[in-house]
């Protein structure tokens, strides 16, 4: 081991995820000419957009030294609430309801974790199950809003602006704004400090409780937004949506170089992590790899991707 592994990471690696992604794309492009077609590339962007929004929120929590398993259920609940509200009170009420739902879940997680001091894993596992239960209770387990959602909303789910899907603009814009917040505002620095060494941050007068709680609110709120986006894409609120999102999101963030010990992570790198996951699935489908072998390949590739980061940081 090493006196300052962090330092080395800091100076040497950093771009492991990007490298892994590039290699992945090159290999796929060589194996099938369909990969680089405009249609497929735009598919990849759309398929990544929703997970990207979630991963950004997850990055907040992970930088703050936490963990959120409840995002998947939150996506479902927010999507269904949004759809139900929209049918009744129109587009904006619906969107607001979806995001508010996410913020509420995040707030609950945050308060329990930061102020009751309950372990993040247990807390968010609990809300993950609990929220899923609520989804089924409010929807009776059946999709909501089919055929009844406002046209404008459906357009948001499939339409484009400047040739790029609306769904893709969302994470793009978020990335710019939130990256600035993390890098250039006191709040952002406090999140890094709290995650890096909670005790030291506390002793420097950082209100660690509020900071930690806030990261879960971000994560919940963004999951809520993602739920709305998903509802738009699926033209309905789907109670079963978002299963396993939590693992994919966390994997993406960690692939992006964040440390589950907290204090490290970069928003845009997390999104690169998302691309790795999505492109992987996409290329395996394009190559028509048998779905059992797909699992083997996925397992190998994400470990390899994570390893690139480490191996580069060896010398």
């Amino acid at each position: 081991m090493n006196m300052s592994p962090r330092l080395k990471r800091f100076t040497l690696s950093g771009q492991g995820a990007l490298i892994a992604l590039v290699i992945l794309c090159l290999v796929t492009a060589l194996l099938t000419h369909r990969f680089l077609t405009p249609l497929n590339l735009s598919n990849i962007l759309v398929q990544s957009s929703i997970m990207a929004v979630i991963a950004v929120g997850m990055t907040f929590v992970i930088i703050g030294g936490g963990f959120d398993l409840s995002v998947g259920s939150t996506v479902a609940l927010a999507g269904c609430f949004a759809a139900m509200t929209m049918v009744q009170f129109g587009l904006f009420a619906g969107v607001a309801a979806g995001i508010a739902t996410g913020i509420t879940v995040g707030l609950i997680n945050g308060v329990i974790i930061a102020y009751l001091g309950v372990n993040p894993f247990i807390t968010t596992l609990g809300t993950m199950v609990l929220v899923r239960g609520v989804v089924y209770l409010v929807t009776g387990g059946a999709p909501v809003g089919d055929e009844q959602l406002p046209a404008a909303f459906l357009a948001f789910g499939s339409g484009r602006f400047l040739g790029i899907h609306y769904l893709v603009w969302v994470p793009a814009i978020l990335l710019v704004i939130l990256s600035w917040i993390m890098a250039a505002t006191p709040y952002g620095r406090r999140v890094y400090a709290t995650g890096g060494n909670r005790e030291a941050a506390y002793l420097s007068g950082v209100p660690v409780g509020r900071v930690i709680a806030s990261t879960y609110v971000w994560c919940g709120g963004l999951a809520g937004l993602a739920g709305v986006m998903l509802a738009a894409r699926l033209q309905s609120g789907q109670p079963t949506a978002g299963e396993f999102y939590e693992l994919t999101a966390i994997a993406a963030v960690v692939l992006g170089g964040a440390s589950l010990q907290g204090g490290e992570g970069t928003l845009y790198k997390s999104i690169i992590g998302v691309f790795i996951m999505v492109v992987l699935g996409n290329s395996l489908n394009l190559l028509n790899v048998d779905s059992y072998w797909q699992r083997v390949a996925i397992g190998v590739v994400i470990i390899a991707a994570a390893a690139t980061d480490r191996l580069r940081s060896r010398h």
Partner: protein, 284 residues
Amino acid sequence: QEKTTIGVSLAQDDNPFYIVMLKGIRARAAELGFNVVTVSANEDKVKQINGVQDLVARGVKGILISPIDAVGVNAAYDAAKAANIPIVSIARGATSPNQTIHVAMDEKQIGRDIAEWTANAIGDEGKVAMLLGPSGAPTFRNLAEGYTETMAKHPKIQIAFRADGPLTRERGVKQAEDAMVANPDLKAIYCANDDVALGAAQAVEAAGRADKTIVTGMNGVPPALHAIKDGKMAMTVELNPFLWGRLGVDVLATYLKGDKVEPRVFIKHVLVDKTNIDQKLPKP
């Protein structure tokens, strides 16, 4: 004198198909004056066995079960047998000798019928994609086997794409998108159930291939029926889970009365496409 209580353990509680089936069960039970006690399993075999054990411990008079696996939950049947409680499989069946009755659908046959219908609809030639069910779930394995073996009899039809996954609309969209990129000349997409099909249909429409690629589903849930009406989906198989649930209760009731019942009772399935959609649409 106390009401008869029957226990119900379905494979999932978040799948519209089983949700409707449970409605049917409750409805019929109410008519017969039975109490209904449910335990959930959500595709977890151990959870289903535990659930049935809990039902037995609770002292129900009879059990309706939709076993997640043909063998995996035999311990549940043993538990019921040990307590002399009749246990009736509904929809999915089990190999257990202790299975009292199986109210079944003929999965392989349904697969074959979907395949024949599709072959005929696409002019007996071209590429088709299969969006399968969750790997390992026997119902969907049997459906797929029936479908595949029939398509094998059609030399000019090629299964160009197979992928499994959860029964969600989202996955239908994503895999259909990829399938159409991989095979621009795709003629038909087989979907393991209606949720996946609705997703696939949406992707097809978004890709502007509504007239070139047809989508088939299975189960006959209302949104799918509407999609067929609107020409977004080509066909689905109506199993009418509601009637199925009622039938299950009736079978159990007859047995509890002490009357003789065949060990396998089939529920009939109907292919629904634009020719017969209008009778099938739920009356507004």
